[in-house]
């Protein structure tokens, strides 16, 4: 099987679902990893690994969606609930800009008290005050929430954000794009189409976005394949995805912790990354998540088909709410990428290289 898959992958032929299943369930890990690395070098012959200086602040933790995997959100009225003013949000962006960030990934809960104007003002003011920062704001489900609040379509909201100066969307909130999984862990968030529709509409308008996947909870192999098929299919239409970013679910302080005590470990992560590289043949970049999987696993992942290291994450609150904390500086990123045998290069939100080290 590995030989057939190798021939197809290197000839640029698409892997089918049965092959994807075999890679996820049965392929020897290092055979798979070596093939993913081969595919990575076929696409990028240079041993360069990119990273971005970024920050992930959150404008609100108020949320009405009650996802079972989330330790971050608070219900409206909860004593720990918060919503930042526009100026407070801009203060966080100013902090990120002062540290050299070129990307700010701003996201938050689904807070029905916030009007569209709140979102567009943050985008417009960011563009105006911090031109070096790309506003990489608002995941699909937040955009959907604003649309519902304003009784507009998702497309209308995207148009307004585009007018305000936004050009990219983060890929969070995908979890696993499978009806079964989403019904189980996030019944109020809607099925896979709710996420896919926002990205489809965004790509149609010229936005770029990323696709993520959070695995390691209730999903089975078929659910993972549904996810990969869904994002690969959408990418065929508009080509708007820049990167695929999988990570493992962190159970602490979440409702799912009752059933799932520990995150999936490094071997499953390396497998996911390598399968992503091979199966998502139309995705330019595969990101190794040092942040969610640990720096050691992040370094090893660069040998399993990943070509990007993710970012500095100057601020991060969502994993922190699950008692998972990990920090890094640019110097350490450069050192870690070099130690792993690669040349580090700083990139923008849209993966243009700014500086080689």
């Amino acid at each position: 099987m590995i030989e057939t898959i190798r021939d197809k992958a290197l000839a640029g032929k698409r892997l089918d679902r049965a092959e994807g299943r075999w890679l996820l369930d049965e392929a020897p890990l290092l055979e798979l990893g070596a093939l993913a690395a081969e595919a990575r070098y076929a696409r990028y012959p240079e041993k360069v690994v990119t990273f971005v200086i970024d920050s992930n602040p959150n404008y609100t933790n108020v949320c009405i969606t009650d996802c079972q995997f989330c330790a971050f959100y608070r219900k409206p009225g909860d004593p720990e609930a918060y919503t930042l003013t526009v100026e407070e949000v801009l203060g966080k962006i100013e902090f990120a800009a002062s540290k050299g960030a070129t990307t700010v990934l701003l996201q938050g809960g689904h807070n029905p008290a916030l009007p569209l104007d709140y979102y567009t003002t943050i985008v417009r003011e960011t563009r105006q005050r911090f031109p070096e920062v790309t506003p990489h704001f608002f995941t699909a489900s937040e955009i959907r929430t604003v649309a519902q609040v304003e009784k507009l379509t998702v497309g209308d909201i995207l148009d307004r954000l585009y007018e305000a100066g936004q050009r990219t969307l983060p890929g969070g909130g995908a979890e696993v794009l499978s009806e079964r999984v989403r019904r189980r862990i996030e019944p109020k968030k809607g099925g896979p189409d709710t996420w896919l529709e926002v990205h489809r509409e965004a790509h149609r308008r010229g936005f770029k976005s990323t696709a993520t996947m959070m695995y390691g909870h209730v999903e089975q192999t078929d659910d993972l394949l549904d996810h990969l098929d869904a994002v690969r299919g959408l990418q065929d239409t508009h080509g708007g995805f820049t990167a695929f970013v999988p990570w493992s679910f962190k159970p602490n302080n979440t409702l799912l912790a009752k059933w799932i005590k520990h995150p999936k470990g490094p071997n499953m992560y390396l497998r996911m990354l390598a399968v992503s590289r091979l199966y998502l043949d139309n995705f330019p970049h595969i990101q190794a998540s040092w942040f969610s999987e640990g720096k050691r696993t992040g370094q090893i992942a660069l040998h399993f088909g990943a070509d990007d290291w993710g970012g500095t994450l100057l601020e991060e609150n969502v994993h922190k709410a699950a008692d998972y904390v990990n920090t890094i500086g640019v110097d350490e990123i450069v050192t870690l990428i070099r130690e792993a045998g690669f040349t580090p290069a700083q990139r923008t939100t849209e993966y243009e290289i700014l500086k080689r080290y």
Binding site: P28, G33, G265, N267, R296
Partner: protein, 365 residues
């Protein structure tokens, strides 16, 4: 098998036909950029020997003392007598540290200036009498050599007396890296050198005492020094045959700072894989999770390692963590390391006798 580095094909040819690798092959394994190619060959060897089994043992590390006459540059553990932080345990202290659940106790310590050899005999004898079901793995070749230097007790006599007192196996420490250049530079020249270390293990093997072997790497040694170290172990194993397992010990930066950073995980995986391929006469190669980290240790189970050791850390802390027994908690953690790699956990004793084979899958609750 397709290799990113075509030079590995010749090594693979030898590996498949069970031909011995040369020094040049060894150098290539440490220099190639094809980490996964190297790993796949090592995994092939590991799987041919052990299938999907990965061993662990519930053991307890004990140092009777950290007082040491040596001043090795890589050591953050040793203290001089009377220095702050120096400790010296009694036989009763040591017995108190070993619970009945432990299968194996691992005893190594400093080269104490005053303790007579008879005290070490009493430690082994006392522990063996109090915990007859616990197998005792004790004293590195460096310590056995020190008994000669300090008390003029020949290694053969020392090992025979310790065996009579209850010692069952010998740990592989004190080998550091076999290099007279580094022994001088890192100030471990006062310790048994490579020839002496091997001689003592040979004596142990001749007395029916199985032993382990180690290599301390990731500091200022060269790749050639690593290869020569491994080949010297392989020669000794050809001569005396009593080594059970090889343990690669990555240098921990800590307070000694011989290098600014610990060697990266890819180097740890590389070293384990190269050891599996070069040490064709060693039954086992270990991924010692305490030094590697659980994540790298788990990945190393695809790079030729078939054992994760299994130390119980501070038992009081583990007791405070909940009602689970320390052994139960240690097992759960080890299961996660092994099962994440989709391997079968096998609980063993100090001599690699199988105690229990567990499920590959398992409730991780």
């Amino acid at each position: 098998m397709h290799f990113a580095d075509a030079r590995l094909a010749a090594v693979w040819e030898k590996v498949q036909t069970a031909r011995r690798l040369t020094r040049d092959d060894g150098l290539l394994l440490f220099e190639t950029e094809d980490l996964l190619g190297l790993g796949r060959m090592a995994d092939h060897v590991k799987t041919a020997r052990e299938g999907d089994r990965v061993y662990f043992v519930l053991n307890r590390y004990i140092s009777p003392t950290n007082v040491c006459v040596l001043s090795c540059a890589f050591c953050g553990f040793a203290r001089k007598k009377g220095e702050a932080g120096a400790f010296e345990y009694t036989v009763e202290d040591i017995i108190g540290m070993v619970s009945q659940e432990v299968r194996e106790v691992h005893i190594v310590g400093g080269h104490h200036p005053d303790w007579p050899f008879e005290y070490y005999e009493r430690i082994i004898g006392g522990l063996h009498a109090a915990r007859p079901n616990v197998q005792i793995k004790a004293f590195t070749a460096a310590e056995i050599d020190y008994f000669w230097r300090r008390w003029k007790i020949e290694p053969r006599e020392a090992l025979a007396r310790l065996k009579a007192a209850g010692l069952q196996t010998m740990p592989g420490g004190g080998a550091e890296i076999f290099s007279s250049r580094l022994a001088k530079q890192l100030r471990y020249a006062g310790k048994a050198d490579g020839d002496r270390w091997c001689e003592i293990h040979g004596i142990a093997h001749s007395l029916g005492i199985h032993t382990n072997a180690t290599m301390l790497y990731g500091h200022v040694e060269t790749h050639a020094e690593r290869v020569d170290h491994l080949l010297k172990l392989r020669e000794q194993q050809d001569r005396s045959g009593g080594f059970l397992t090889f343990i690669a010990l990555p240098y921990q930066v800590g307070a000694t700072r011989l290098v600014p950073r610990s060697t990266p995980p890819a180097d740890n995986l590389r070293t384990i894989a190269a050891a599996r391929l070069l040490l064709d006469n060693f039954p086992h190669v270990e991924a010692y999770w305490v030094l590697l980290g659980e994540d790298t240790a788990s990945v190393a189970l695809h790079f030729g390692a078939d054992d994760v050791n299994g130390t119980l850390e501070d038992e009081r802390v583990q007791h405070m963590a909940g009602a689970e027994t320390p052994a139960g908690l240690a097992r759960e953690q080890l299961f996660r390391i092994i099962r994440d790699a989709n391997k079968v956990p096998v609980e063993r004793d100090a001599l690699y006798n199988v105690i229990q084979v567990w499920d590959r899958e398992g409730a991780l609750a």
